[in-house]
Symmetry: D2
Subunit: 122 residues, 4 copies
């Protein structure tokens, strides 16, 4: 018998990610664990958790808390993830992870090519 | 200067996946590499490539072709992926990967719980 | 100059919907306004607003509040949307829209066909 | 009995769209029918049909072929949709709809605001 989850629940709890992340992470010197940590950060963001602790992430990945911290540090050092400081609802400064540098790399790598195309248009 | 990809291209080439895959793979005894291979299979399916070779997958993951074959075999042995045989356009039998067993596990794990809820309703 | 939204914001605020909703609403005797009201309900759900008022919906559609109420009533009468009563965090009964009946129709319409296929398999 | 579609099929055939399209179309002077025609164009694109005829679109919307043509013309006149000419596989010039102008408006409307924010940063 198929006692499946309600369709509504299946459809609401989805994660959308750029395909180019899956096709480019290897060329960006990331390994599978780093990619999955990025995906977990995306998932937490969608749940409005913008600064999950290594311990919270570790609940969902197979690496230890310490390894997870190291991977996060490495992603920051590689310039793919950054930590932003934002004023929260009560004026308290809060930290949050941003994946903007990663997306800039994924979506803006074609600069020079594009330029030469612009020339050929004229 | 931001010579970014056209928005149309960013928006069209996305992969949608159930969040529960990210939160449950660890409990299903999968590791990060196995999860990413699953995501690559999903991505290939979206491109209408339903039976990518280990070599094709290896272009996008950090493991060797041989390791990739082993991971695929393991995923099949664990009952998460299966190989189906379908009649193609010219009557030729074609193989394809199906992730249906994985989705059944993700979406139908609550059977017994659900049943007891049904009882309590009465 | 392209002062675009951060990519992170573009990618996080997306709505995922079954293609079959777009290809089947006409056959289910819905018109474009009803379809868009359904999409707005989906969007509100994603924002954790599970029982938007006609006035809140009307901010985003071109029909009046009264027409919007009528459309919602029609969708309920057609058996596509239902109102559920749920216990909220403090034990207060809350109403919420559910699109489950719509999804059941979209995903379970092939019953008889499926059965005959099963027969032909043997 | 729930003879539902395979989960694989549910999950693969989805359309992803920016939420801001649903919240802004009214302010961009589009009505529900125009919005749904845009969604149909997105859906066709995903199926690699980049220049559907009004007749093909009309199969899935409640307006007549002539009205559909008019709506497409209006969307082009409003500068939201454009027709591009591309060299196809055999060097033949092919037409295709592009929604890039619509996305530019959705994602780049904050220009002046952004600039003033930049000033206030200093």
């Amino acid at each position: 018998m198929s006692n499946h989850l309600p369709y509504e629940q299946m459809l609401q709890n989805q994660l959308v990610l750029p395909q180019v992340l899956l096709t480019s992470y290897k060329n960006m010197n990331m390994n599978e664990t780093e990619l999955v940590i990025i995906l977990q950060l995306l998932r937490f963001q969608q749940e409005k958790v913008t600064f999950p602790t290594p311990s919270e992430i570790t609940d969902f990945v197979t690496v230890s808390e310490e390894e997870c911290s190291n991977y996060l540090r490495t992603l920051i050092q590689k310039g793919l993830v950054e930590i932003l400081h934002e004023k929260g609802p009560e004026g308290i400064i809060q930290e949050k992870y941003s994946l903007e540098p990663l997306f800039v790399r994924l979506f803006e790598t074609k600069e020079e090519k594009k330029e030469s195309q612009d020339i050929s248009k004229e």
